[in-house]
Symmetry: C2
């Protein structure tokens, strides 16, 4: 077997065409399947971009090549130097006849999970052997889309004057209320894992950065195990100064819309692999007030009082009534965190919004409270201690501009883009109440 040596891939499988007839190329990848017929061996080699057919006719290759070809097993890692031969009967209009075959690594048999998509497996078995599960073209396509989604999101931020920041994930105190925080041992002290960059991105507004974004992990010690929650997730966050909640909603719907446009334009191959018919929804997205949403829910026979949060049943009813993306605005102040700015005329409602897709909440945001006194009041009203807020609160004393922002769960957004029912499908290595490995 080979360490690698001086061979390098010359082409991915999708870069070879019948017009290259006669050219010598090197392909590298996995043995997707192999058929051995007396004097002929067929190998389907799979790489990240697709598959290519290798034909090994005993009469046309050296004895060594034929022997090696016969010894190849499923999922072995192989490198093949060979000639492109145009052939109308071959699935892609050509095949490769090898000059030399190198087995770079063997795969044991039987495989603990079948990477061809023939044998269905439950999600836990798949996640336990995620490295094999990820070889399936559909799964791989999903994570290609995820990478492109993040690229598109950043592009929209850059184009709108946002600066990327990285805020700490190790925090000293459980300021926003401690129930959902993971405690950690930080040398001789207790610390916590950040459940959101909220307080930090607000401090960046006091620092005069004007518009910042961050894409990074958040950690929530939620006990419940649902198909919509994770204990570690990637949050797409932004904050913008001299802006209100409507400005923040505009940026958010722009981010979402541009992702759909970019994936539609650049990723038809992955979308086809996943059988997704991407529907690019035009902006502005519909807006309903919280009060209107409560009326809808009540009119469909689900009892809900003004001032309550939407139950799962209420969300489902709402999702049935609304198409695609929509905002719920003007929430009761009591239902939102202390840093939300109440409406000046009617402080019972506040400048918060959620972005929904049918029955799924994917983003929350608001114009924030930038007034020190109001903020301290809000903190006390939530039963929290202003003294625990340290520099965060101080930042409001020395020139905090009006500002607004939002956070969106990257995995929930991917659920919508790729029509997944279980959020774990959208994470390489999910973390939930039960799962900490691999």
């Amino acid at each position: 077997m080979y360490i690698l040596g001086d061979w390098r891939r010359t082409h991915f499988s999708n870069e070879i065409t019948p017009e290259m007839d006669g050219e010598e190329i090197i392909v590298m990848g996995w043995t997707h399947s192999i058929r051995k017929l007396g004097k002929l061996v067929f190998i389907i080699l799979r790489d990240r971009e697709g598959t290519v057919q290798i034909v090994v006719p005993k009469q046309k290759v050296s004895e060594e090549v034929f022997t090696t070809a016969k010894s190849v097993g499923r999922e072995d890692v192989i490198a093949i130097k060979g000639k492109v031969v145009a052939n109308e009967k071959a699935p892609a209009g050509f095949e490769i006849i090898p000059v030399e075959i190198r087995i770079l690594n063997k795969a044991e048999t039987p495989l603990p999970l079948d990477p061809s998509e023939k044998v269905p497996a439950d999600i836990d078995t798949r996640l336990d052997r995620r490295f094999l599960d990820l070889r399936r073209p559909k799964i791989q396509a999903l994570f290609r889309l995820r990478s492109e989604m993040l690229k598109s999101v950043r592009d929209t931020f850059y184009n709108n004057g946002f600066i990327e920041v990285n805020t700490p994930k190790l925090v000293a105190s459980a300021t926003e209320g401690g129930t959902e925080l993971f405690p950690i041992s930080y040398f001789d002290r207790e610390a916590f894992l950040g459940q959101s960059p909220q307080l930090y991105k607000q401090m960046m507004m006091a620092a005069g950065f004007d518009r910042v974004f961050e894409i990074g992990p958040i950690f929530r010690a939620e006990e419940h195990n649902t198909r919509r929650h994770l204990n570690e997730a990637i949050s797409i966050d932004c904050e913008m100064s001299f802006s209100d909640e409507k400005d923040a909603m505009n940026v958010l719907e722009n981010v979402v819309h541009n992702v759909f446009v970019d994936l539609y334009e650049n990723n038809q191959k992955e979308l086809r692999t996943l059988d997704i018919n991407l529907n690019v929804q035009e902006t502005p997205f519909p807006r309903v007030t919280y009060t209107e949403a409560v009326d809808i829910v009540n009119s469909k026979g689900i009892d809900m009082e003004w001032g309550e949060d939407f139950s799962r049943a209420a969300e489902k009813i709402l999702g049935d009534s609304m198409e695609g993306f929509y905002f719920i605005t003007e929430w009761p102040t009591e239902t939102r965190p202390f840093y939300t700015l109440p409406n000046q005329e009617n402080p019972k409602i506040c400048k918060a919004f959620d972005l929904m897709y049918k029955d799924l909440e994917i983003s929350s945001g608001a114009q924030r409270n930038h007034k020190y006194d109001l903020l301290v009041e809000g903190i006390k009203r939530m039963g929290l201690n202003p003294e625990g807020f340290g520099t965060y609160l101080e930042a409001f004393k020395y020139g905090m501009p009006p500002h607004a922002g939002w956070g969106m769960g990257a995995e929930r957004f991917m659920m919508i883009i790729t029509c997944q029912e279980n959020i774990r499908e959208c994470v390489l290595f999910p973390r939930d109440r039960q799962r900490l490995t691999p």
Copy 2:
């Protein structure tokens, strides 16, 4: 005072020119300085992009405007609607005469830290009041460059076929050796914070993703407090299949080179603010073997045995002998982690490299060991238990391709770009042995 209302900034300070004479504009920002002379008030308004001079002559503005102008204090957040008036005597060739001034938020006095760069403060005082420290143009310029650096790094990855991944930061076991890990309480279990995405990005190679990158936090419970270490940092990581250490070094020097080119081309303003004369070093960067480096160190009078790691004194001597960026290659196998591939002919040395800038290591990488048996051997040799490695090790049994990769500390890279002596200067909110706030 105003919540914000319907005013929006029409121009940043650097977007206004004398040619706009007579135009009405709205600027928003902080009161950088204010001078009150009987019938004339001068306000320097600072926003993210610079400063602009507001002139308030009692005779030319309403009484309300003049009264408001006189009430403005340093670092108050203000919005000014006014007319651009070309004036050759003004520093920028124009000034703004206000039609209306709105004070959006007051700043208490005295300020706990002076955001003008007149009064020097030690780094701890500055970090304690980071939101004020970050208002200083030099500090803000540094973090603009950091954002641009990350953008440039991603661009090079995208252009070279890398897919972005997010791997978990919560891990079940202290596989690579537990001394530098932060323990966390994960519900009823103990877990740890990831010190590197190493094992995950290698699993992504077994998954057939071919080339992946990740930019995310890493956590190291190192006890020592130096000017080059952090306990939470951002790591730029990549891994590539069917590649050896030389391919990985090529990508790395490309990434570094392109950052310098991009900052040179796009960020002259920030570089000038920081008095940085950026030296774009051409590729390839010099390569010295470990053995050559030891000879250099010994020849300069520092005793060092072959097989030892470089002491701080040895690094400094090396840094004196080498200009700019250079690689140290062909390390003794014993000095590197178990996942490093030993040289086939001489297994005492291995396919590892470090990227150095003078005396500072900024990146480590290698061709990895992709052979299951060799890997198990390596794990045992390091005194670790192969059974603790679970799926990671299993991934090598079922078709792991040859692969290579590296990790680079984003903050160390910024130290070099911006000529900083203390790594804390390159982090918004640093975490070290003593510091967990703000």
